[in-house]
Every structure is written in C-alpha cells, then in structure tokens.
Amino acid sequence: MSDSTAIAHGNAADSHHEHPPYQRHHFESVSQQFDATNFAMWLFLLTEVMFFGGLFTAYLILRNWYYEAFVQGSHQLSIFWGTSNTAVLITSSFTMAMAVWCAETKRKGALQLCLWLTFFLGLVFLGIKSIEYHEKWVKHHVPGFHYSVESFTHPSSDPEVFNEYHDHPMAPDMAAKTELYFFLYFAMTGLHALHMIIGIGILGFMLVRARAGAYTTGHVTFVENFGLYWHFVDIIWIFLYPLLYLISRHT
C-alpha cells in the first residue's frame, strides 16, 4: 500500500503544476473542479425534484378526486403562520446568498454572521411549523392518531374556522377523506421540515469551519453548493405554500 502511494507521488512530481491546496490532483484547474462539483450538486437536486414531485402529483390527483375534503381540510391551516413562514424562509435564502458572496470576497466575520442568521431563521421556521403541528395534534387532525372528522361533519363545533369560512357539513364518506388531505399535508411539510433539519445541521458544521477560516481562502465550493441545497428547500416551500394554504380559500 505504501509502495503504490510512493510511486504515485513519484510520477506526479515530474508533471506537477502549481495549484492551491484545495484543488484535487485529478482536476486540471480550480474552475474545472468547481464546475464538476456544481454539476454533481445539480444532479442531486434533480433527484430531489423527482422525490418531492411524486408527492405533488399525488396532491394534484387526490385534490381533484376528493375536492370538497381537500378544500375544507385546508381551511384548517392558518394563513397567518403560513405567510410568516414563507417570509422567514425567503429571508433565510437571502442571508444564505449573502453568505456565498462573503465567502467569495473573503469576508470572514460577515460570512459567520450570515451563516448564523441563516441558522437562526431556519430554527424560527421550524418553531412556527411546530406551533402549527401542535394545533393539528390538539384538534385530532393528525392522520392515524385518533383522527377525528368532527370539524368536517359538524363544522359549527369548530367555531374559529367556521366563523371565517362558514363551511357546510360534509357527508361522512367525504369527511373521511380529509384524513388523506392531512396525510399529504404532514408528508409534504414533514419531508420539507426534514430537509430543513438536515440543512440546519450542516449549517452548524459550517459555522465551526467558517470560524477556523476554511471558507475564506478562495475555496467557495462547499458554501456555494450548500447554498444551492438551501435555495432548493426554499423553492419547495414556495410551491407548498400556495397549494396547501392559499388556493382553497374561495371554494
């Protein structure tokens, strides 16, 4: 093993060209390395599009099949919290984009600030999400856990929502389909939240590395590619927000 390493080194020494320490040997130049990793990151994001795409397609079909149930199910969501969370996430995408700029222009202090803000806004998003989840739990709207159709078969039993939408009582077979709406609600927002949690974890790791100055040497690939991931998660929410919260208000 040690022999082969020595040989590899010996060969490289002849044709070795000057390059920064963060450039891997098998790349011609830093820009080729950047393009290759960038391309790989985009391919990963495309698999993520397909991953979420299945859920979006299911939502599209089932909403058309069980229209009434999906409309009244979405009346249970708070537009205030949904809109706030959209603003929080867009702002966190902005701070992340600024973090990439700070890394590119080698501003170590500002980079740490931007990463901290992104980290913090990510936590705010999850905090608001947990307020919403808690409300669903209290109202027995979590599918599979003592799910109750009371709010839909007897809308007046749920005055807060009833006073805003004045929904008609649904037949029990259609009301049962609201569980399907909430299943998709939890599957889609839950998968999105899982991506947020993973992202926040990676941000924590990056904060430690940024403090050590790892991203302000001219090597921006990691920050740039994490930015792509974070913006992708933002885009998923940009579609979840109107589909789950907004489009059923008037029907």
């Binding site: 290759a36 599009v49 795409g53 902005f94 600024m98 885009i235 907004l246 008037h250």
Partner: protein
C-alpha cells in the same frame, strides 16, 4: 466544460437585495390575491406567482443565469422530465374508467 468561465462570476449584494425584495413583495401579493374571489383562477394566479418566484430563486440566488451551459441544460432538462412525468401520469388517470374526474 472547457468553455466555462475562467474567473468565477460573483453576484453582487445589490442583485440579492433586489431579488429578496421582489420575492417578499410577491409573497404579499399571492397572499392578498387569495382573499379575492377569482373562481378557478385563484389556483392559476397562485401557481403563476409561485413559478415566477421559483424562477427568480433559480436564476439569481442559485446563479443559473451566470452559470455554464452545462448547468443551464441540466436544470432545463430536469424541469422538462418532471413536467413530462406529471403529464403522463395525469393522462393515465384521466383516461381510466375508475377515475373520479
């Protein structure tokens, strides 16, 4: 990849601030529009705004506007395949006797 930019393009904070402001305004707009009764067009308007917002994020925050042709082609082909899969799935569901359309 050989024709990629030798010097890495840096997007300026001015661009980021502008895009973030437009995104927040569009969020307020889509929220506001949901309070106006447009019939079936509520969904159309909401989705059109979402597509617009997503395009801004992809082009500017994710730097696709300034990226290599390879990246641009990757993104476009991904969207194309995704839309193709959705259309084919819907065509299947709509044309079946057991459908509920």
């Amino acid at each position: 990849m050989s024709e990629s930019t030798e010097e890495h393009h840096i997007v300026s904070p001015k661009v980021y601030v502008t895009i973030a402001a437009i995104l927040l305004i569009m969020t307020a707009a889509t929220c506001g529009m949901s309070y106006v009764d447009l019939g079936v067009f509520n969904a159309v308007v909401a989705l059109a705004i979402a597509v617009f917002k997503a395009s801004l994020v992809v082009l500017f925050f994710m730097h696709v506007k300034y990226s290599s042709k390879l990246t641009k082609l990757t993104v476009v082909s991904g969207i194309f395949i995704f839309l193709g899969l959705i259309s084919m799935t819907l065509a299947d569901y709509i044309s079946r006797a057991w459908g509920r359309w």
